[in-house]
Structures are given as structure tokens and as C-alpha cells.
């Protein structure tokens, strides 16, 4: 198993109801696998998972990427700074 930190921002934080959580995931889970798991475990997040942006250790990450050990994973909508 792999213990990771999840961070939620903006609409994702509102839906998750929390800024962050630590969870355990299977080793070698992909980002796509993580999104599927979150959609299942947290129904409020399910509708966001198709368009969510994901980062691994503060770099943009994509569906096929493997979640590394002890990763910091952030989930958020497209950015709107400025």
C-alpha cells in the first residue's frame, strides 16, 4: 500500500468538504485509478472527476501516470488567477 496526501482547491474543496486528507492506495495505482477510487469512495466528487486537473508533487499529471510513494496529489478545476 501507498500512503498519499490529497489536497483539494476551489470547487473540488467545496465538494470534498475538506482541504486535505491522507489516504492509503494500492501501489502502482494510476491517476485514472485514483480518480475512479475517489469517485466511488466520495460520491460528491464523482461528477468532478472527468474534468479535474491533477498534480503529483506540484507538477501537472495525466491519467496514465503512476502515483509515487508518499505523493502529494492536488485536485482542482482549471485555474482562474490574475
Amino acid at each position: 500500500m501507498n500512503r498519499i496526501k490529497l489536497l483539494f482547491f476551489a470547487t473540488l474543496r467545496d465538494r470534498a468538504g475538506t482541504k486535505s486528507m491522507d489516504i492509503e492506495i494500492p501501489s502502482d495505482l494510476t491517476i485514472q485509478g485514483l480518480k475512479d477510487k475517489l469517485a466511488q469512495d466520495y460520491p460528491n466528487l464523482a461528477q468532478s472527476m472527468s474534468s479535474v486537473i491533477v498534480t503529483i508533487n506540484r507538477e501537472y499529471a495525466f491519467d496514465e501516470a503512476i502515483v509515487p510513494q508518499n505523493a502529494e496529489i492536488a485536485l482542482f478545476p482549471p485555474v482562474s488567477g490574475g
Binding site: A10, I53, T55, Y60, F76, P77, P78, V79, G82
Partner: protein
């Protein structure tokens, strides 16, 4: 060539001080600066006209600062003559007329791409720097969503 070119990038809750930032990116060889700032609009007329009471900004701060540095690196890669760069995003609750963001680029002369560099900087910030704003109006609040999806390697 200067050995150390000033690059400032920060997410802050403090007021943006243009004069101090400009001084910090001015070298002895600097003759020109192009600066872009964005402010909170109290009244928006284009697209979906509406009024804004305030904007509430938040950021994934350590990643945002790393991406601001990346924007500065991209600017330097495209415009070799750029001397200093400042990229600042203010967060928290910001009211109309308040400057929220600044991109400033300096160079020896003004005909060197310094305007284009600043414009590139604000466009990239709005694409890849993780900052979000919630708009609070007379009739409720709503997250403003961007539309850019970063590509691998960004």
C-alpha cells in the same frame, strides 16, 4: 551580461507595491520596463454583465510559486534581453479597484520585446499558475473557472 538577473515571484496577501517591485528589477543597464496589472472590476459589461462586491482568491502556494518561476524561465528563454522579471499574485479577499496581479519585465531598451514579454507572462500565469477566485456579487457567490488544461511537461 549581469551574472545575477533579478527574478521575483510571489503569492502574497499584502498590497502590491509597484514602485518597490520596479526598483527591485531595475539594473544599472536597465532603460525600460513594461508592467501589466490586473484589478478587481466592480462592474463588468462584456459577455455576462454583472456587479462584483469582492473576489476571494486562493492558491496552491508552493506549486504556484514554482509555476511563476517557470513562467519567468519561459520569458527569459524567449526574450534573451530581459533583465529583471517580477510576477506577483495577491490572494485573499480583494475589493473593486484593487490590483490583484502584476507582471513586470525590464530591459535596456523598449524596442526589445519587453512589452510582448509582459503580455506573455500574464497569459501564461492565467494558464498554469494554480490560483482560483470566487466571485461574490449582490446575489450570491460563484467560482470563476478557467478553461485551460495544462499539457504534459507544463
Amino acid at each position: 551580461m549581469q551574472t545575477e538577473l533579478p527574478t521575483i515571484y510571489s503569492i502574497t496577501e499584502d498590497e502590491i507595491d509597484l514602485d518597490a517591485l520596479l526598483a527591485a528589477i531595475t539594473l544599472d543597464s536597465t532603460g525600460a520596463a513594461a508592467i501589466f496589472t490586473g484589478m478587481v472590476r466592480g462592474v463588468t459589461r462584456r459577455d455576462d454583465p454583472h456587479e462584483t462586491v469582492y473576489l476571494e482568491y486562493e492558491s496552491y502556494v508552493p506549486m504556484a510559486e514554482a509555476k511563476m518561476k517557470q513562467v519567468a524561465d519561459e520569458i527569459r528563454a524567449k526574450w534573451h534581453v530581459i533583465e529583471g522579471i517580477a510576477i506577483v499574485q495577491r490572494i485573499g479577499r480583494l475589493y473593486p479597484r484593487t490590483p490583484t496581479v502584476l507582471i513586470a519585465c525590464t530591459a535596456a531598451h523598449r524596442d526589445t520585446g519587453v512589452f510582448d514579454a509582459a503580455r506573455y507572462g500574464i497569459n501564461r500565469l492565467k494558464e498554469i499558475v494554480p490560483v482560483w477566485k470566487k466571485e461574490v456579487g449582490p446575489n450570491g457567490e460563484e467560482w470563476v473557472e478557467g478553461d485551460y488544461v495544462p499539457k504534459p511537461g507544463e
